[in-house]
Amino acid sequence: MAEVLVMPQLGNTVESCLITAWRVEVGQPVDPSTVLCEIETDKSAMEVPAGLSGLLLARLAEVGDEVPVKAPLAVIGQPGDDISAWTGAEPPAAVAPTDSEPAAVALPEPIAVAVPEPVPVAVPEALPPPAPAVGSSLPFAPAVGMGQTGPKAASPRARELAAVYGIAIDSLTGSGPRGRVIERDVLAAAAGQGSAAASSLVTPDPAPEPVAPEPLVDDSAPAEPSGPTGTTRAVQTQSQPEAGRPDSGSGIGGRVRLADLIGQTARSQAEPDQPSAPPAPAAPPPPDQPLPPEPVPTSGAISATHPALAGPIDDPSFPGPVDQTVLRGIRQLVAGRMLASLSNHAQLTFDSSAPATNLLNLRARLKRSDPVLGMNGVTIGDLVAYAAVQTARQHAGLNATLADGVLSRYAEVHLGLAVDTPRGLLVPTVRFASRLGLRQFSSQTKDLAAKAQSGSVSPDLLSGATFTVTNLGAFGIESFTPILNSPQVAILGVNAIRPQPTIRPDGGLAVEQRIGFSLTVDHAVVDGADAARFLADLVALVADIDIAVLD
């Protein structure tokens, strides 16, 4: 009976191994010591022995596959053994199967390979102020965080005592470190109000026995323990005991937390007619008492967070159904390349537009032309891309790639065409686009786009472009910032054709059809003026496209 060999777990932390080579072909005999395949873990490369005698009946994973440990790897048995149980079902549980990553193609020979000359340092208009060097020490600011700013610093003990006496902390001068109000300040204030309470901490005289402080005023409610911030606010509204001080805190041991106060404020806001929440008139603070430095937030956003407010916002099923997909295949690849592009190129986008009257007219004429000419299928997009190819051929600085600090400029234009496919964005290459006439160019782009759609495009053609066009005009996009197809240094975005007001030569207003372009370049190697010149030439070509195609 055939036996399945699983990917061995070669180490406690190993979760999967990458197959780097198979040493045995299906159908070949193996013995226990035969090396079946070579694998790699994050730590090392090693060999997997067959461990069994027999014939290799099936390989359940291929070179490049990442196979979880203890997942089936191969089937070994005798001729005629039924192996459908392993081969018929799901393919091996390969981790994140790498889809057809295009093999490296030999790039066309560049005409000039040069390390870019020092780019003139064009200081952007709005340079942000220099950021502090990472890791540099910040100048010590003793006032910050040491209790001298923000809410009045007071020890929990002082606050507790102040609450008992009904003394506003803010009315006190702190004698503690950095002006912190400490217990003795409250005791002194209480003594000043006629309290019998005194302490050795107030006067260095022989200390009397500590006297349990008695509440001075009518605030006879038992003191709740409170956290520093919470009590600050509670004390500020001391004269409104019902409103400013929750009956009981939600913290451990009934400790009043900030959330309790915010929640209560929200409640007060939400129920303005509550008699127990009288507004300002009750017991105005003494004239010398500073205003509360931090008014209790009253915004609706905070109110909305209060659990007492029911509604969809409190629906416990938040956030509702979610479809989560691990990025795989093309999407994973695209994601990686987009981020890599953004982090490796200084991308800058220029917008412009061209009169589209001739473009529309030419397209209409081509569509109507004799099928014998083979030009019926030429689209606006073909015409614009064709113009872009002609422009790029004249601007080698933008028909270029930048990799590893080497700028390669190309004599020929190999045009990348961004194609929206069911599997995601693909960019097949029209090789030697600059050598093609319009008809050939149009037919090749159609052919490539179709293959990209169906997934049959040769991986060789998924790289090697020197310039890329991406066309979102059909969607009505007016302007966007295409991301460079790295290592290329320029990409042309084609926008919608829209009627735009224009001033006629006679000074009157008119409406003109115009097509928009968004050109992104790598500012590291393409100066703004170069990009502008490219766009100007492109606009001129598109404006007179009927003449340009005659080239």
């Binding site: 070669l10 180490g11 090392s44 203890k70 020890s155 929990p156 507790e160 400490i182 050795s200």
Partner: protein, 819 residues
Amino acid sequence: MTKSLLVDPAVVRARGAIRFSEIPLNTYQLDLGTEMARYGPQGLVDVLHDMIVVRQFESMLNSIKTTGAWQGVPYNHAGPAHLSIGQEAAVVGQALELGPRDLVFGSHRSHGEILAKCFSAARQLPTADVAQVMQSFLGGETLALAERIGYQSDQDLSANFILFGTLAEIFARKAGFNRGMGGSMHAFFAPFGAMPNNAIVGGSAPIAQGAALYKRINQEPGVVVANIGDASLGCGPVWEAICFSAMDQFRQLWPESAGGNPPILFNIFNNFYGMGGQTDGETMGYDVLARVGAGVNPEAMHAERVDGFNPLAVANAVRRKKELLESGQGPVLLDVITYRVSGHSPSDASSYRSKEEVELWQEADSIRAFGDLLVGNGVITPSAIDDIQAAVVDRLARVLALAADDQACPRVDAPFIESVMYSNQHVESFAVDRRAELSQPLTDNARLKAIATKTRRATDEHGQAVSKVKAYQLRDGLFEAMAHRFSIDPTMAAWGEDNRDWGGAFAVYRGLTELLPYNRLFNSPISEAAIVGAGVGYALSGGRAVVELMYCDFLGRAGDEILNQAAKWQAMSAGLLKLPLVIRVSVGNKYGAQHSQDWSAIVAHIPGLKVYYPTTPTDAKGMLNLALAGTDPVVFLESQMLYDIGEQFERGGVPTGYYETPEGEPALRREGSDITIVTLGPTLYRALAAADRLKSDYGVSAEVIDLRFLAPLNLDPIIASVRKTGRLLLATDAVERGCFLQTVATTVQQACFDVLDAPAVVLGSRNHITPAPELEALFFPQASTIVDAIDQRILPLPGHRPGSDQSEEELLRRQRLGV
């Protein structure tokens, strides 16, 4: 350090040369007739059987580890499995000649040693004894499961028990040999002499040496084997253990009746690799491992190289060496060559050795070779070997099916782990049937007589300070406690540097030399790892040990033995082992950066240790009495600033009788109402001076609490005090960064947040080296710095002129600079 030995210049300066004795290599000659006569045909078949058991057991683990199943039983083993496939002959041959009372301590690669030793012991013990062991072990829990595996004979049942107990331990099951608390690398079964296996390379050497010391001092039969690897010869503690065991004093100075050197066999399973480093030709320079014996003593440790691929060669060597050990002529070094065909661990790609080399050793496979020998001589038939193989596989498959069953074999819970961190017992004597051996009656001891005449308070009845020579000092309290326990517990032994004759570097033991024979108090080599390691081995063998580190700064030298060994073995044995070990550690000053450090935070950080730090003569005696009656490892810190201090707190003076300080309870040294000052160690006395100044100059009443204990520690009295005063400062001589009082401060602050009038302030020594004694006031907290810190961070003191910057800015500045 003894007057009886003369260092004679005429002798030591004489010309000459050393002649080394010969070290035999693989000299065993097989005479099957002799071996048949010795072991009988069944005995030889048993050897083959045990080798097959070990091989199959580890093959099973390998399959489970790498494929998640064996024999159709799926199991995901998350823990390690260090296999020794290829080394079976070496472990089975060794176990063949060891009796049930001989002990083996092993390594992280010791599944084979456990199985071989247990099978051998179970075969040698009377059936009733084996049954008794199995029934009583873990209340019969392991046995009840072993019975479910199916058996037809007593031998079947004991085999089930051994295999299941080991595998269940590897799988972290509650019914495992150590309730799953040890696992693959630490499993053991003491009733059959398979002692703790150690995941620290060479870790077993000093511990096994301590177990051998226990056997020698307590006249117990049997020998002790440290099964360690060839690469462990590069480890300092292994050398220390070897030197310790080879000391001349065992035969030259100890009473002849003591029996000579400890019966320790340093058995090196020499598989030529330490993980991947090749000891033979790469990472060591000994050429032949056995050679190193020549560097240790004139007998060259009776070293030999033995062919570990032949079980009978190994057995032969063990038998001969055991005789030497039992007659006190140890230690012995065996270089047992073997080979690990399996990888170090499943992640081993064998990138360090050639396939050809592995194949050469596979061709020499010991199981096949020994089977062929038996078949060739008509001892067994090939089909009978196949039957053994099949039966072993069958039994193991059933053992695995049970051990893999989560329902049948649950794991322990968190409260259980808590419950085995300490044993928390009170034991007056570990050998109640023996008299404690003393060299003189306790009442005749000169030191005790002198102590009896001293004033047991620091001040006389008129409040006048008593002179130091007349006052009962802290070191006297320590001495009284030691003498008391020595007179009661015959197993108690003490050793360390300069303990005998000198009486300890700080005269704590002055007078003990006269009281005790050598085998209860002796000088060790300057080998902190071996000193503490021997204490661990001695204690877990059943005796009470007191070891000494002359300075806390030397604790690093015994780091593994304190932090990984003493602290761990009670819990890793699931409470089956006790560790009555007191590690006395003297905390210095005046001697600069390497002799003046309080490392209490380091030991308090490690779960499993108890940590005491007395500051008064009364506590020194009461706390050492407590430690010496307990069953847990105690790091007992003593400050050199306080050895001569008198009793200032007990109104009646240091009590004369026996008493114990309540464990974990801080001591209230002075009552107050405005601020709580908590101290650890000698800072207490500077805090009291600060309290005086606070009272007289500023009218602030400070309550001073002396922590005394770090672990365990009851914080309730401190919390109660802070609730009263609302303010807390903690002061320690340990450097401020990471000191233990930071932990206390954080915890108390959480409990007392609502009543605090200021954040808790921790004042430690500065985060730099201890400078010269003339500059120590810059380093250790002083009364003045305590007052400054209170003034600047807790309670500004009207009129106070600070002499130091204790502000938050300064604190943060220092942190920024790392000082």
